[in-house]
């Protein structure tokens, strides 16, 4: 099957360009990128007129929580996949912090099967680094890699025992496995619901100093120097952690860092009157931190933006703030929320797309994330400026715990293609 995408502006994060082009797709792969559409396409070619909108590589979202196994009522592969398609996410890299944790090849195979049956987008499951995410014994990293584990992470649990963590890193290095960690000093952050500061003091909520993140990162960097492992910090959200990250990269360690979209677009004050939909982990930071981190994405110091999609049902959110569960859904709001960074002129579109698509592909060794001949035709067509007011009732996720409910946003996904197949089309 051959498709010709015409009348579009092509967003190419690799070349750093946004320009009119046409894209020829054959059998799910990008076959040719042209400056203009041919006058007379071959008769067996389906021509897709993109209406002058932007065509970009689909988003690769590193760290999506789908609640299978265990809490399918919060999110299933079907609902998450539909949300992803509607959000322009063509690959979900899913988290193992399920009930039970994805820590054995058998569970991983179950998840892979469920994902293939139900989700219209690509799903790459990650596995736990330690059994039960308990930080005591490493999982069967080799078998899990054979079964398709994209990376190894205990998610928001820190492996506190440095001996266990250093051995897991050493073992992972020998297999070339990527380890993703949550840099946070567990002692300092224990029991915290918000970031310390004037707001936390006024609201009387237990708080953590942003320093806990730098301490966690410093520790992990020391262990990387020791072990030489491939490492990714899931979320760097504070200005204080940035110099350490910069130094580690300069010293040649195999380290990358990500940040969740909520930390790039919201700050600690958004919690206002104990609004639990704004409770995320790590907690939202001060505006100074938010800006510093957004600029670090623009400069490339922080490599990857993700949604940190974490579905929680109403029951786990409609509680006093300290008791309420952490996390927010983000698959469908990632693109319009990220467009805020472009509209605020913190970064341009190609820079944003490196963080959303190209860099995660590179880090995970995927062929996608770029518009290049031979790459899979995983693409999103979107209008970067279309305004709307988000109504959470319209979300496709089973859980609708978004902090953006009722907010004005700009940027609409018009269509999403996975291997050339249209998996979402806006009506």
């Amino acid at each position: 099957m051959t498709q010709l995408f015409t009348n579009l502006r092509l967003l190419d994060p690799e070349a750093g360009s946004l320009a009119p082009a046409a894209v020829l797709v054959r059998d799910g792969l990008i076959a040719e990128v042209m400056d203009a559409a041919p006058e007379n396409p071959a008769s067996n070619t389906t021509v897709i007129d993109c209406g002058g909108h932007i065509l970009a590589p689909g988003i690769i979202d590193l760290g999506v929580k789908v609640c299978e196994p265990g809490e399918r009522h919060k999110e299933s592969y079907r609902s998450a996949g539909q949300a992803a398609a509607a959000g322009g996410v063509t690959t979900m890299v899913t988290r193992p912090d399920t009930e039970p944790a994805i820590d054995s090849p058998e569970t991983l195979e179950f998840v892979t099967r469920r994902a293939n049956e139900a989700a219209p987008v690509n799903v790459l499951p990650m596995a736990a680094l330690t059994k039960g995410r308990e930080g005591r014994e490493m999982t069967e990293i080799g078998f899990l890699m054979d079964a398709g584990a994209a990376a190894f992470t205990d998610c928001d649990r820190v492996v506190t025992d440095t001996k266990v963590f250093s051995r897991a890193l050493t073992y992972a290095r020998s297999l070339g496995a990527l380890v993703i960690a949550h840099p946070q000093d567990p002692g300092l952050s224990k029991g915290a619901a918000v970031t310390s500061g004037k707001f936390a003091s006024l609201r009387g909520l237990p708080a953590v100093s942003p320093m806990a993140e730098r301490m966690g990162l410093d520790r992990d960097i020391a262990l990387l120097e020791m072990t030489g492992a491939r490492y990714h910090a899931d979320q760097i959200t504070t200005a204080r952690a940035l110099p350490a990250l910069e130094r580690a990269k300069r010293n040649g360690l195999d380290i990358t860092a990500g940040v969740g979209i909520h930390h790039l677009t919201l700050n600690a004050l958004d919690v206002a009157d104990y609004r639990t939909f704004f409770k995320v982990k790590p907690p939202l930071r001060d505006e100074d931190d938010r800006l510093a981190v957004a600029h670090a994405v623009a400069s490339g110091l922080i490599d990857i933006i993700c949604s940190m999609h974490t579905p929680q049902d109403e029951e786990s959110k409609r509680l006093p703030f300290e008791e309420a569960a952490s996390g927010a859904v983000g698959l469908e709001t990632l693109l319009p929320a990220a467009m805020r960074l472009v509209h605020a002129e913190i970064m341009d579109l190609p820079t944003l797309w490196r963080a959303l698509s190209l860099n995660p592909a590179k880090r995970l060794g995927l062929p996608g994330g770029r518009i290049a001949v031979g790459a899979p035709a995983d693409m999103v067509l979107f209008n970067p400026d279309a305004p709307f007011v988000l109504d959470r009732a319209t979300l496709r996720s089973k859980s609708r715990n978004t902090p953006f409910d009722g907010m004005r946003m700009q940027g609409k996904v018009l269509a999403t293609y996975v291997a050339g197949t249209c998996v979402f089309e806006a009506n």
Binding site: S196, G197, A200, G204, E315, R318
Partner: protein, 315 residues
């Protein structure tokens, strides 16, 4: 006289004139409470439910007496012993109670923000009787009334709040109230018991108690919770008493006519010297308890009026 609030959730939402309105009415109730016939019909026919998710003898009794003196039907629910233990959520509890049509709900909860959450779900007036480390508005109001009666004014006073500020809802509500009424506020305590960036609240912070008390008109002591005494926040009880316990020597640095306050229950010999607490020339601790009933009567009276005004005409 205007008091345009549906609930009393915190001092944060009140204006200077709201506070004055409340204190003026409370002043009248305080005088009336000293008469043999203390009864009024302000809340006649209304149902008041006291829901305490955290132990409290004093505050609960104060709210109960206040409601009964105003003629309300008062019911106490000890929530620690009840359905919460059976796994019912706060919202379900609120909805259940709401179906019984109470008019006033007095709530204490160990979590900051829990009373705000509950207030969003019920149709009656809600009074915050203390939520976590957040606010305890009636305590701040009774402290304000006590100060106003003892000092003759509630502005341009120098007031020291001493002790465990970090974990204290009493401190937060008092900082807000006394700040709104344009007083100079000093916070005195070890840095481990100070909330972060508290200096941004328009207060002066001292870790030396003698310097902190220099020339102040009012000394407010806070209770130090037992569980905070052993090594976690402070080295020991005796070191705390030595450095931050209020005794005659430290009080000598305050203004000669400074009054001493404590929200109770006191730890004698931990945060305050027992003799000083009983010194009727300096201590107004008993007055605080007395004003507590009056302030709660005033608050419930004002909220009940708004609640009744918002009801459709009865049949």
């Amino acid at each position: 006289m205007s008091f345009a609030h549906r609930h009393l959730l915190g001092i944060e939402q009140l204006s200077q004139s709201d506070i004055t309105t409340l204190l003026d009415l409370a002043d009248r109730y305080a005088d009336r409470n000293r008469q043999p016939n203390k009864h009024s019909d302000a809340l006649r026919g209304l149902t008041q439910i006291n829901m305490f998710f955290e132990n409290s003898t004093r505050t609960q009794a104060s709210f109960e007496i206040a409601g009964k003196r105003l003629g309300a039907d008062v019911m106490n629910m000890a929530m620690q012993a009840s359905s919460i233990k059976k796994g019912e959520t706060l919202i379900d509890t609120a909805m259940t109670l709401n179906a019984m049509h109470p008019d006033l709900l007095v709530v204490r909860h160990p979590q900051s923000g829990a009373v705000d959450l509950l207030a969003q779900k019920v149709n009656c007036a809600v009074l915050n009787a203390g939520d976590g480390r957040h606010e305890h508005p009636t305590q701040a109001l009774l402290d304000a009334l006590t100060i106003r009666r003892a000092k003759g004014r509630l502005h341009r006073l120098s007031i020291a709040i001493c002790g465990d500020i970090a974990h204290s809802r009493v401190a937060r509500s008092n900082i807000l109230l006394l700040g709104k009424m344009e007083n100079r506020i000093r916070l005195v305590g070890p840095p481990t018991l100070m909330p972060s960036q508290i200096d941004q609240f328009g207060v002066e912070v001292f870790d030396d108690m003698k310097k902190g008390l220099e020339g102040v008109d009012v000394v407010m002591m806070l209770r130090l919770q037992k569980e905070r005494m052993d090594g976690g926040f402070i080295p020991s009880e005796r070191e705390y008493y030595h450095r931050y316990g209020l005794d005659a020597e430290k009080l000598a640095h305050a203004s000669p006519d400074a009054i001493v306050m404590h929200p109770g229950p006191m730890n004698r010999g931990v945060e305050i010297d027992g003799t000083l607490a009983d010194d009727i020339n300096r201590s107004v601790i008993q007055d605080q308890v007395e004003m507590g009933v009056a302030v709660r009567m005033a608050a419930m009276d004002l909220l009940a009026r708004n609640h009744m005004a918002a009801q459709p005409d009865s049949v």
